[in-house]
Structure formats: C-alpha cells, structure tokens
Symmetry: C2
Subunit: 436 residues, 2 copies
C-alpha cells in the first residue's frame, strides 16, 4: 500500500518531507568503467566501438556494418503494420505542428544612442540521439527527440540504438525515417556516447547529444558534457494527479498506474480534497493491479513510492504541487485553468479529466521528455530550443561609441583591465581628432 | 610570438587543427576535495561554512554575520565615486533594456482536432550568483548575471562573494544593489556552491546557480548539477577578429590584447585577408606590450595561444571562424553584416571597426557571459531564458480524445505499456457508451 497523508494531521510536514526526499534511484557507481570506455573509444575509434559491441551486445560487426543501410531500414520498416504506421504518422504530425511554434525569433533594433543590437538563432551543426535497446526502445521517444531537432533545422541528425543479439524494433527505424533522421548506428552504451562526442573513423562527431539511457549512458553523457552539449539526465518517471471527488476512480487509478508501470522507481501521487475518493482510487488501483501485464513493476512502484494526500482545498493542493515540482501534473478538477494558474513548477500540465497523461506521451503534441526529480523547479522539457543557440549582435556607430564609450572606459579602469579601456580610448581619440 | 598560419600553405590544415585542439586550461583535479567540502556543508550546515571560511578566507564569522547587512552595504557603497556609479548605472540600464526583449512569450491555441495546447514560462523561485573574490571580482559580471534573473522575475536572488581577510570591492556591492539582489553572503569556494545548492540554517537553498569561479567552484557546480540548475562552466576568454587591410593596426592590437590581458590561458586570434596588415598588427601588439599594466599575463597568452591567420578571402575566414566557434567575434571589414550572415557558430558578434569587444563587456547591452572553448557550437550566452522554465499545457475535449485517442492506444500497445493504453480506453468507452 502507498503512504496516506493528510494535511490536517500534526505529523504531515515531516511525512511530506520524507516523501519529497525519498531516494528513488539506485545509481550504481559506474563512472570509472565509463571513463575507461570513453578513453578506449578516443584511443582506438571504430576498433574500440566494434570490440565493445561484440562484448556487450553479443554482436560482431565490421566498420562498414556500424550504420544501417537504407535497404536494411526498408526491410525492417516493411514489417510494420499499416495501423501502427498510421498511429506513428499521426503522432509525428502533431508533434511537428506543436514544435514548429517553438522556433524562436531573431531580433535587431537600433536604440536611442544609435547602437544597433540584436540576436540571431542558428541550429547546431549535428545532433546525436541515444535510443535505448530492448524493452525500453520506445519509438515514441525517437519522435520526441528527432522532430524538435529537425524543426530546429539541424542539418545532420543521427541515432545510436543498441541491437543486442542483432534484434531491432522495426518501429524505432520507422520513427527515425518519419522524423528525417540521417544516420542510424547499431551501437549503444557508453561507447555510443563516446563515439558521438569524439567521433571515430566511421562516425563523425556531433555537437549535441540527447536521449534517455541506463546508468552507463547517463554517466557517459555527464562526462562528455562540455565537449558537446547534452540534454537533461532523466530520472524515473513521475505523475501527480490533483483530483476533486467528481471523477471516476478507475480513470485516475489508470493514470497513476500508467507511470507506475514504467519502472519500479517511478512515482505516482494523488492529491485530493475528498478523502473517500482517495480511498476509492486506492481500491481501484488494487483491482487493476490484479490483471495488469506489468503488475509486478507497477505494484512495487505504487507500494514503495506511491502516495495519496488529502488536502483541505485546492489552494493547498497547488502549494504542495509546487513543492513536488512534478514531471507530469494532471488537474482533474472542475476548473483546471484556474488551478493551473496557481502552479509555478511542473514539466507538463494536463487539464481536465479528458486529458490522461498518456495522451501527452504519444499524440498530444508537446514533448514527453520532461524534467524529473523536482528539476521542473529550474528546467524545461525538451524543445526546439535544445537544438539551436543564440548569437548576440552589436554594432556601434561613431556617435554611439561617443555616447557610451566613456562609461566602458571608466568601468574597465575600475576593473584594472587597461587594454579593454584603451581599445575604446584609441577609437574615441580618432573621433575627437580625425586628423590624428 | 604567436603562431602565423597561411591557408595557402600545405601544412595549414595540420597546424590549424593543432591550434583548435590546444589545451588551454590546466584543470587541477580538485574533485575529491570538493566532494568532501560539499558533504561537510550538507552534514554541518552553517558550522561547516563558517569553519571553511575561517580556513580559506582567514575570516572569522558567526552565522549572523554571513550576510552583509543593509547598513554594511550602504557604508561600502558610499565609498564609490560618482563617476563610477554613473558608469555602472548606465551599463545596468542598457543591459536591462536588452534583456527585457528576451522574455519569451506564453502561447495557447486550439488545433483542428479540438485539442487546446500551449506553454507557459515561469521564473525559477530562487537563484544564486557566484561572484569571485579578489582581482577577478568584477562588478560588470554582477550586472550581467543579476539583471537577467531580475528581468525574468526571479523573486529571490542572492549573491555569494568571498571576502578574503574581510576585503570587499564596494563596486560589487553597488552593482548588486543596482541589480536588485536580495541577499549578499560573504562566502566563496565550493562551500558557497554547496550552501546555495543544499541550504544551511542561515542560507536557504536556491534552484539555480550561475556565475564564474575557479577550479573548485567549477567542480562544485558540476557536482550539484541536477540538484539545482547551473549555467555553463566557463573556460578562459577568447576573441577572434576578422579584419581586412583597411583598419588601424593599433585598434585591432588592443582588441586582441583586451582578451589576452584577462588570463594567461586566454586566446586571441586574428584572421586577415592582408598579410602585411597581419604583420602590422603583430608589431602593434608588441609595442603595446611594452607598457601595458598586465603585460606579463597578456604576453604569455599572446605567445602561447595567439595566432595570426592569413586567408585568401572572407569566405574562407567565415569557414575557419565556424570551426573555431569563438566566444567573441569582431568583424572589422567593409560590410560586416554580409560577413555576419555567413557565420553560424559564435557567442557574440561585434560588427564593424567602431565596435570593440570591450563595449560588449560593459555597456553594449548583450550579455558578456558567453560560451567558451568551442561550445558556441551548441550553447548560448547567459540570458533571461536561463532563469525561466517552460510548462507545457494540453487540454483534450471528449471530441479531441475521440479523434486522437485511438492512435495513443495503438502506440501504447506497441510499446507494451498497457496501463497507458487503458487510461485512454476507459475514457473512450465512456464516450461510446455514456450509460456505462
């Protein structure tokens, strides 16, 4: 059974803080192993990648075979059913439409001093997306990572996906094809991250790496950060549902379970103003757990990290929600917009009872790569912005320099940076004495 | 003497790659020390911070004295000359005006399927800015970090600045006051980063930490990343000047020296279409090095990492520039806008000979915290975006769910995530059989 809390109880604050601080992730210390793998790939390039793939994925390849050929992709994609293909295409179209609106604008203006200022956005030159292999090889994640990159205009986009024993999910390849991915490499683990960051004879280095992965992949991304850009290091999934009593308990139970089934470390929390409803949801969860395919995982997650919190009112619910800063937040209340306006920290908000979180995982349009472990306090989900960067622009006229240059000289002097000041002074002297 | 390269020479590519890969930073491995300091602050809070400040800054404080009082700040600020104050205020006003334009827009729309989608930006709840002590305690950096945070609407903004032997730069406190900083702590090093990330009895934890620092500070920021957000890990400063022959060699020499004087590891590069001009600039650098206050630093930087590259034309210059991906790029050519349009990767571009880079360090308006070490390939300078985060929003109507729900069910099934699918199925059943 999950923990039951009630804000009217005297020990609530202590119990809530325990819930907030629950350590949900076992992070095995793989850093030393990963450091060795990265160095090996830097030293030996393709040869290291091939050896490590033989070792970890039981797959013997040659450098020529690192990338899927167009014909290999065609053959795999042909296995996909028309219904699956149509669903993937609908999802891709909706994700593309949403992300197209995120492309930021360039700007350029001239201020009263005559200085022309602005900025310009440009895509990264090359991006690499890590796609896990095996059970966690989700085609939806390929769409969610690849489409924002292509919307951003990234000219070269590649994927690495391990294929243990040579097994690949055809839907992953179809998702890559639909998204416009340019290259697909059948490699995984820290060796894939190292190859993307440093390049090998066969795999040119990229500038940015995104996508989820296991502890080895996460440690490798952390290590190559700085050499290349990375997205966030994602933790186990989370959902917080705020619901009043006017909901179907089974719907809410399924929403909670749709995170719990991901991972034993996932966390599902219900906050409700109605204690009886809270109990009904807990019972509905138990009933669904009897038959759910992934019941072993979902039961462990719900038992160890699940919670039902009874609050006095929705105001209190909003305050607790901001302290949790959930990855996914469902607002199943009469006026979800009003409640949403009270929330500051959440990765994604799902408004109203007709918006189950699973819609957002697949076809809603917004990205499903979202900040976990309370990081919605300071970070955002994946977006087009992750694949562009901004160059600031400034142009002074002689008049503008005359107007603001002296302040720069003064500040340079106060910071004891003489050459900074002189670079302005020399120009101002010319302005004041053109014949000089 | 710096290295002289010429793209027409047969060994150019090899020499250029050597220049690109020059390791400019000695990163002492302080990670173990830093891990110990962070753990100490987590275990002992204020007490650890006070002990470490006594040890490293030779300053004995009590918990009450960790923060500067309003009166202490007033007293220090009173020491600032009117001219320095006016320069700082002009800089602050221009930086504020520039960054105010960066605030991103919220969005909300309803798509043809009846789904309402959008996003909303909110500020982080609290931000902490690290300000180095001693010589590198730059008031301009306080403005550049604090003003974007306040423009973003961050409600609580604090600064940590070490005061070795109790010495503080009054201009730093004035810059903090002008920027609207709420709290100023006289602590530094890894202990300051740990206090900001984890909080102590006296110093509440923040959500985001920005600002430059030494190797200990950088290692601490890397370690607390995830618990809180951080900005980039900045390396030594860099400038690339692309100039044709129609420039004053002394101006260009001073622009190159204004980076070289920062740090022995700084890098200044001139790319020019005019070999004679390149020589003239190198001579002008030597002449200025005779008298420059910081000549020992500037000379070492110019000797070890400086370069003059002769190119055939500006097209080639733009291509080399993108491979360097410079932090600062000056375009001292007849048509800087045309050349700028050919550049994809640069932190900041300074257009034309009347725009020395130093203007951007102080009073131009754009931020001077910019990506170094070729990271302009994938990252941007500090901005308002560093202090806000985006929550995505989605609201389905029953009709919208009917339109796109089946695709979500199909994809959930293909990923073996049964509860995901059922959370949609249960709702669609209700829609199809309302009496159920």
């Amino acid at each position: 059974m999950p923990v039951f809390l009630d804000t009217t109880q005297s020990d609530f604050e202590t119990s809530f803080i325990t819930l907030l601080n629950a350590k949900r992730e076992d992070s095995p210390d793989v850093d030393a192993v990963v450091a060795g793998i990265i160095q090996d790939v830097r030293d030996r390039g393709d040869r290291a990648v091939l050896d490590l793939t033989a070792k970890f994925d039981r797959l013997t390849l040659t450098a020529d075979g690192l990338a899927f050929s167009r014909e290999e992709v065609d053959a795999e994609i042909a296995k996909v059913s028309p219904a699956d293909r149509a669903a993937l295409e609908l999802a891709a179209e909706r994700i593309r439409a949403y992300h197209a609106r995120q492309m930021p604008d360039d700007a350029m203006w001239t201020d009263p001093d005559g200085a022309t200022l602005g900025w310009r956005w440009t895509p990264v030159g090359a991006a690499g997306l890590y796609v896990p292999g095996g059970l966690a090889s989700y085609p939806s994640s390929v769409l969610m990572n690849a489409i924002p990159a292509k919307v951003a205009g990234v000219p070269r986009l590649c994927i690495t996906v391990p294929t243990p024993d040579g097994v690949i999910n055809p839907l992953v390849l179809l998702a890559a094809r639909i998204s416009g991915v340019d290259e697909i490499y059948r490699i995984g683990g820290a060796q894939a991250i190292a190859a993307l960051a440093y390049g090998t004879e066969t795999i040119p280095a990229v500038d940015k790496i995104t996508g989820p992965g296991n502890a080895f992949v996460a440690a490798a991304k952390r290590r190559v950060f700085g050499k290349v850009g990375i997205d966030m290091i994602a933790g186990p999934s989370e959902i917080l549902v705020i619901a009043d009593g006017d909901n179907d308990p089974d719907w809410i139970a399924l929403d909670l379970l749709s995170q719990a089934e991901h991972d034993e470390s996932a966390q599902s929390i219900l906050i409700t103003t109605d204690a009886a409803f809270g109990n009904n949801v807990a019972q509905a969860v138990e009933k669904r757990l009897e038959t759910l395919e992934r019941r072993a995982i979902a039961r462990a997650s719900w038992r160890d990290f699940g919670a039902v919190i009874i609050v006095r009112d929705l105001e209190e619910a909003a305050q607790l929600s901001d302290r949790i800063a959930p990855e996914h937040l469902e607002l199943c209340v009469a006026d979800p917009d009003a409640l949403s306006a009270k929330i500051s920290h959440a990765g994604a908000i799902f408004l109203g009872q007709w918006t189950p979180e699973a819609i957002g995982d697949y076809v809603g349009g917004p990205n499903h790569v979202l900040p976990t472990a309370r990081s919605a306090r300071f970070s955002s989900g994946l977006s087009v912005l992750d694949f562009v960067k901004r160059t600031t622009l400034a142009r002074m006229t002689p008049e503008a320099l005359r107007a603001i240059g002296p302040a720069a000289e003064r500040l340079a002097t106060s910071e004891s940076l003489e050459a900074h000041g002189l670079s302005v002074t020399a120009r101002l002297q010319k302005l004041n004495d053109p014949g000089q």
